[in-house]
Amino acid sequence: MAFKIVASQCTACSACEFECPTGAIKFKNDAYIIDPKICTECEGHFDTQQCANVCPVPKTCVKV
């Protein structure tokens, strides 16, 4: 149960990084990645996934 970032779509704006309630998103090798071991799909925090909500590019933060 986790989300991922489609690297080719990502603009590296960093919005997802500071909205993520579990700190699962990190900047590594010039790209943002979601650590699937930490990501909870925001369960227990919010009804919807924050990374997908704030991402400016459609279909970029998606379910693995």
């Binding site: 590296a12 704006c13 919005a15 704030v54």
Partner: protein, 495 residues
Amino acid sequence: MGQPVTISLDSLIAPVDLDAMKRTAASGGCSSSSCGSSTRPEDMDAEVWERIKDHPCYSEEAHHYFARMHVAVAPACNIQCNYCNRKYDCANESRPGVASEKLTPDQARRKVIAVANEVPQLSVLGIAGPGDACYDWKKTQATFAAIAKDIPDVKLCISTNGLALPDHVDELADMNVDHVTITINMVDPEIGAKIYPWIYFRNRRWTGVEASQILHERQMQGLEMLIARGVLTKINSVMIPGVNDEHLIEVNRWVKARGAFLHNVMPLISDPAHGTHYGLTGQRGPSAMELKALQDRLEGGAKLMRHCRQCRADAVGLLGEDRGQEFTLDQLPESVDYDPAKRTAYREFVAVERGDHVAAKQAAAAAIQEAAAEGQSLLVAVATKGGGRVNEHFGHAKEFQIYEASSKGVVFVGHRKVEAYCLGGFGEDATLDAVIAALEGVRHVLCAKIGDCPKDMLEAAGIAASDAYAYEYAETAIGALYAETFASAPSQAVA
């Protein structure tokens, strides 16, 4: 560097000659109207003038002398606008929100110092996208804190969509951010729904009228909070024909009532190649004359800004130029110390020069009064590389500054961007056609030099081009031109 008056202006683009600037500054002295507050417009409070007189975006007069730079440090955004696509980006494009490289606060600090050491006109540091400076707050804050320590006299400035603004107004005021721009495209959420597909607020995505209602309330709240704290606030509005063009009259009324200092109505930039919703759906931007017509209707409301160049998010230099490519990350030194010498010398020079400029403006207004052609106005395009003078060759101009001469005097009313006609020894006819199209409504072009061929082609298109006023102040030249035009043919209707 032949003519004395051009020394300083050539130095705008050439390496700065400090001694020459000092000589010019010293020779003017404080003899006439050249000193201190005498350059202040009559209808402006002295304290406000002191705060804006070196800010190229807040003072039309200052934009002839002072430069801004933007640093793209806050890339995260909390709303989606139909005129923006975050995926597209190009070094050759000149439009808001576009930047070639994002910077960390430390990289931004080094860049600002490098620019301050090289560009004597620098007076303002702004954070203006891509992204929102208030939403991506920590990076905005870290950048400003670092710069304020190194260059305390640089003015700090942000541009925001307003959604996160109320959360940070107190901190902005504490950090001496004296100039804030809010982009307000509507005060009616029904219209907002056609501009903003969604916003991200309080941990969820909002759409439709509901999204615009929240955005509108936050924008008004933020504006009122800024005004209450004495922060000078500018409102940017994007004019979108058929969506909010008429509505901007209402927007102007709202922001004036709340104490906005300046209202800047900008044309929508729309092109399918930009990949924006508007670009892809064929929403057009307004023509230069449509924009001017709306701006003219707004006169008398909140004070209008007409000299905006809609610059990039990493722009460096005077408003009409962009030296950003000279200061890319790979050219920045690892460590750099601020040296105020060039900026200080330039300020001494400008103090004198702008006093002379005001005197020239007044003389031009008097000349026009004397010509007394009741109801007659004249739109004149000026090729300039800064300093408010006719000092650029026609073929080298990348923009023309447009002045309107009427019984009210000579007033800057806008600019027209063009491609430079001269390609090193020869000119391109297609480019000249585009220049002629861009000069819609204009009857006279003043420049430092023009060849016979383009001059004849302009003539055929009904535009008189002249280099007779080379290196004069624009107002002096236009005042003389106006007097000449209406004295020789008093009954002729022009522009």
